[in-house]
Symmetry: C2
């Protein structure tokens, strides 16, 4: 193991200590509640995504190599070894772009952590509360790594993916009860497996990133548990994670701000299955549709958005579902024309729908530097010459306009439809809401098999 | 799939075309000969490393999750699914730091490619010549990516590891006979799994990097073969590999210079199992020892080295075998005292040997900016006041002083000792030298089981 450079705060080890010393009594009930919401949201997203072609392909590949039937594959009767289950479930949970989202950082916190933890829970005993605590710790680590006070990262890296193996490793180390040194090894092993390019947007490999990171983080914790050593300065070292992915600002702030407040409290849940930066636009367009403005009467649409929305989703002519999820033009057209932006609005039929294409061609967009990420304005010019302006201060589903438990459960039920029976889905949701009391957290994931 | 930006040369696709269109008749016999030397060197390194503690730990972890006994684990009777076999064999092949080395780039070309190809050869038919051709193509891709004309990369990335999943994916795509588009998907899937931090040096995770990249590259090719899509602009895109890992210079030069000359011809083979940048120092010290200079009579030693040698191996007090391999002070002491630098000189007994420690304390080093990477000078001051200077223009094993086939086979036999019987090892070496004629390349790897 590499020793810390003299004069450098041993940050990886300090973070490992926070993780290995954490106690449930130090975590407030509302953090556990958000963790349960995160689990329910992730399970819904995975149930909704588990029949996607990308999952079918990945499942066929993994089936050829899978070991013992240790772990559940969400929405499927087949079982796989835990590492492959983490890979597949991570892909399922991300493919719809229906993940949870950190309110202040471009991060889908649960994407890789939850599936890694559940896969682990079927081979090592993990109680319900311990799994939720591990999830909270994993989210804390990911959020602190991406916190702009810690470092700035190069744009080409997918933020969620770049930290996901570390988050999954931290969570699994916690669930395994690893000591400080082994937790640091796990973080080191996860850091050297970290990756994930934004260029994957629009291909199946974007969702694969989440599964790959889950698998990598879980493997990191299991290797460390067996005494396989990682670099204990992997995060802050001069040849470590931060130096590779970007530029350090104040890495020690991660330790300083740890749990103050718990970052799981910043978690939000998407009402629409597409890039979070498009949600304010969708919200505005849906409001206009609900107020009776017919798409047929729209002459032109001007979207005013945060720069990040344009940068990530300024795709004018998406050609497939994965591209459409990252197209502000497609989602605006769907919202104005159909009055809903659900899973069906990203099916190929909708993307090629002549009415959508025609309306999409009338939509322009411009950036407003001063806007918040969850802010947007929609300006319609109608055929009768009227101008209609709708300003959205905070998109529905954002931290200031969160969706409640009932709405979250309705989203879950909607996504589970067609994979689980309605009574099974309802029972699974109930099990998530009460999972603190489960001696065996794997009861939750077992109930998600198809 | 993401379309190329207008005006950008579609480099990933152009590289994929080179790979999918390659024909054996376009590759000169000397390239195939170097490929055979690379295979033999890799097999020796893996046989020598397969009993290391790190491999034992990784093997225990992988055994819990392994699928069908599809592929050979080098030096072990147990068999694993091909993905796990690639992971373990990649770790074995790298742990001794006895890899092949590109003469002009910091790259160990075969580390991840060879084990991925052999693991594949046991589940899909690959002829001996096709495997060698795939290895040549994988090495070409890795070398072109790291070519300083292509891009400059951030120092924290381990160069070998950062390109290794791409090299393995390219090679496996070739061996699978994938078409241009699927080869590009494989490259995209590999690029988004790329990683590997230099901070891992000194921990087991350094060798794990090679296995992880092999596993990732093989999985990428197998996924692409099934229709799982990757980004077809993954290398050159604005959010792709080069933008993530460093700064582009002229990415199109990869296509322009492809195979001119074939980069496998730049491959060299280490005579010593440690960081390549220490080899000129070792060479000089061994010469002085061979000329009868006794360590007991040495008052002080001054090493003069290339800046990279100091940067990567300027570790004054290594505390374990993995650190000792990256310590110019330890290797110089071992060479001057023992007259050899083999696997035993990195055992804990040697690192803690009081005679080694005493001599190591008398060694200083300084950088000479104008030196070549394979150049060094050793200046001894003896107890009798004499100064002895030995200048090494090119270290033994470098491109201008290559080790011949007989010496390479002797190295292989030495490393196989204790794992294979002498007749089995000799038969395996013979099989490698004649593998162009094998209908089934897996005969080679099957013969490496313990």
């Amino acid at each position: 193991m590499t020793a810390s450079d003299p004069g450098t705060t041993p940050i990886t080890l300090a973070l490992a200590r926070r993780i290995s010393n954490a106690k449930a009594c130090d975590i407030p009930p509302e953090a556990f509640h958000q963790a349960r919401r995160s689990v329910l949201n992730w399970l819904g997203a995975a149930l909704g995504g588990c029949r996607d072609t990308s999952v079918t392909h990945a499942l066929a590949m993994a089936t050829e190599f899978s070991g013992p039937p240790q772990s559940t594959v969400v929405g499927h009767a087949t079982r796989m070894d835990s590492l492959n289950a983490a890979l597949i479930n991570g892909t399922s949970g991300n493919i719809l772009d229906f993940d949870d989202t950190h309110a202040h950082i471009v991060l889908h916190p649960s994407a890789s952590i939850t599936c890694a933890l559940f896969a682990l829970s079927e081979i090592r005993p993990v109680a319900g509360q311990a799994l939720l605590q591990a999830l909270i710790l994993g989210i804390e680590l990911e959020s602190r790594l991406l916190d702009p006070r810690t470092a700035s990262y190069r744009f080409a890296w997918s933020p969620t993916t770049s930290v996901a193996s570390l988050g999954a490793a931290a969570a699994c180390a916690s669930a395994l009860g690893l000591d400080e040194l082994k937790t640091a090894w796990a973080l080191g092993l996860a850091a050297t497996q970290a990756g994930g390019l934004r260029e994957t947007g629009g291909s199946m490999s974007k969702a694969f990133n989440a599964g790959h990171a889950a698998r990598s983080g879980l493997a990191a914790a299991l290797l460390a548990a067996r005494g396989f050593t990682g670099a204990t300065t992997a995060i802050e070292g001069p040849k470590g994670f931060i130096a590779a992915f970007g530029e350090a600002r104040d890495p020690a702030s991660m330790v300083e701000h740890w749990s103050d407040p718990w970052q799981v409290l910043m978690n939000t849940y998407k009402p629409f299955p597409c890039g979070i930066v498009t949600h304010a636009v969708i919200d505005g367009c849906l409001q206009l549709h609900a107020e009776g403005i017919a798409a047929a009467g729209i002459c032109s649409v001007q979207l005013v958005v945060h720069p990040m929305a344009m940068r990530l989703t300024g795709r004018e002519a998406p050609s497939n579902p994965l591209e459409a999820k990252l197209s502000i033009f497609h989602v605006a057209a769907a919202a104005l024309l159909r009055g809903r932006v659900g899973v069906k609005e990203f099916h190929p039929e909708c993307i090629a729908d002549p009415a959508i294409l025609q309306l999409r061609g009338r939509i322009a967009a411009r950036v407003e530097e001063g806007f918040a990420t969850d802010e947007a304005e929609v300006v319609l010019v109608l055929d009768d010459g009227r101008h209609v302006v709708r300003h959205v201060d905070h998109a529905v589903g954002s931290l200031l306009r969160p969706i409640g438990d009932a709405a979250l459960e309705a989203k879950f039920m909607d996504l589970a439809d067609g994979v689980l029976t309605r009574p099974s889905a309802a029972a699974l949701a109930e099990r998530v809401w009460t999972m603190d009391r489960l001696d065996d957290a794997s009861e939750v994931i077992r109930a998600s098999a198809g």
